[in-house]
Symmetry: D2
Subunit: 163 residues, 4 copies
Amino acid sequence: MVTNLSVKHSLLTNWISELRNTDVQTDRMRFRRNLERIGEVIAYEISKTLPWEEKDIQTPLGIHSSKVLKEQPVLATILRAGLPLHQGVLNYFDKADNAFISAYRKHRRDGSFEINLEYLSAASLEGRILIICDPMLATGASLAAALQALLSDSGKPSQIHIV
Amino acid sequence: MVTNLSVKHSLLTNWISELRNTDVQTDRMRFRRNLERIGEVIAYEISKTLPWEEKDIQTPLGIHSSKVLKEQPVLATILRAGLPLHQGVLNYFDKADNAFISAYRKHRRDGSFEINLEYLSAASLEGRILIICDPMLATGASLAAALQALLSDSGKPSQIHIV
Amino acid sequence: MVTNLSVKHSLLTNWISELRNTDVQTDRMRFRRNLERIGEVIAYEISKTLPWEEKDIQTPLGIHSSKVLKEQPVLATILRAGLPLHQGVLNYFDKADNAFISAYRKHRRDGSFEINLEYLSAASLEGRILIICDPMLATGASLAAALQALLSDSGKPSQIHIV
Amino acid sequence: MVTNLSVKHSLLTNWISELRNTDVQTDRMRFRRNLERIGEVIAYEISKTLPWEEKDIQTPLGIHSSKVLKEQPVLATILRAGLPLHQGVLNYFDKADNAFISAYRKHRRDGSFEINLEYLSAASLEGRILIICDPMLATGASLAAALQALLSDSGKPSQIHIV
């Protein structure tokens, strides 16, 4: 299921517009902050689709039954472009586990290079909810490679969300 | 139109649950951060209903037509409980104007008191989109008084959103 | 004792320079963020002068004696200009108590006005460390009035820091 | 020159104490926020030693000569433990360039492994001020290896600060 959040107007479309605007791009603080905020609202939108459970909590007015997140997701990011977006998702899922995929160019002597992927994380993904951050999606080839590497290394997630 | 965001499960219900939880309430950083995050997602949800316009922006790949917020809202807060919520709304509407309503108890010699309201802002509200933050809603009496004071002082807004 | 932090060059002087710069002032996000960061480093500098105590804490490697803040300060702010500065100080003293002083103009029918001060806080200041935020210091008259109001209402602090 | 900021008591020692405390470590939001704040005050302390220059800026009250940072540093981080610390330093040096060093274990079939380092950055370090974040300093072997890799790849910095 593909959800295109930029179809409907909201602050998200405003921030994406600022990201693209050459007059605003030069302000690195605002550029990072926009990516972070986009990560935050995407985290919020994803959270609407996640499983929840009833839990009794102690409030000042007595025991109250409350709906809370059933499990914490794993946030995986393709370094290094994904970091501010990852930070935004993490701002909202503050108890999530983290995984990092390092994609780098390995240069050969003749000047050509290949994309190498390294997975930097101890967490198992088996049965977990996986959220992958990759704001630099072009052909999707490196995302596909990263996803394949993650799954072969770390088990089969129950859900995968691509941001 | 009343939108009850806590009906549908999302991170918002999770944060509200933490706000009520006596075990979590004692952590003031998390308490404020939860109010801030609630303000942020409410700002995002409100933004879906605001008027937008097409604007041409210069991108690295040429001129691009983009949907941007048509006008900036005014954020009004009933001090002092509303501050972290206001901060959250302001995190997202970072170009908004601000208005503060100071509600305080004026004590008389016999120990009784009345609620005094003072409006601390230069901004006119005439024709503006007004967002009022008041997380301490009980009977709504002080909110109603604050709203009345705002409107008689500063003009008639085009829209009012109560958070 | 007056500490003029802007004499020695640091990031602080850089941020103050941006606050004054008419080209940068129009970016409200950066303007607030600069006031916040100034509040943070001032909080850090003040913390060097505060009383501390030894406390045993449980670490993964055993019991460790650690120096921790002896008591939490009260942060008082003159509304509403002081809010971003207050937010910065609070970012660092995240367990502090808060007090707000509302200064507003009470207009008379002839167009003249007087400054009214209202103190919005339940916290007693007796024997506490008080940090007052007021970035709009001109003659100091309203600061003096605010301080006087605070002290007569809420007891005598052990230390007063003016930011 | 080694500066041990934890000798003198300040908020920094308080945050380090919380990082070590097994009761507080489980709160990931506070743990990350403490690393971030430590990065912020270290950035501020480093900034006191950096070169500055006089620059005329336009203020609302006329032209004002102001001391500003002479050049922006490059922030290099050893992934992935250094990220929250890096974020903190970046919060303060918001115009800095970034470099990431990815250290990962390359497993052999017999179960042994070696540490591989990959440098993820386009920025040249030649003549730049380099700030390296590595909060997981144990023997310093990986820091030394990372530093060596950086210098052979990307030129000779004018200053190196290790955080």
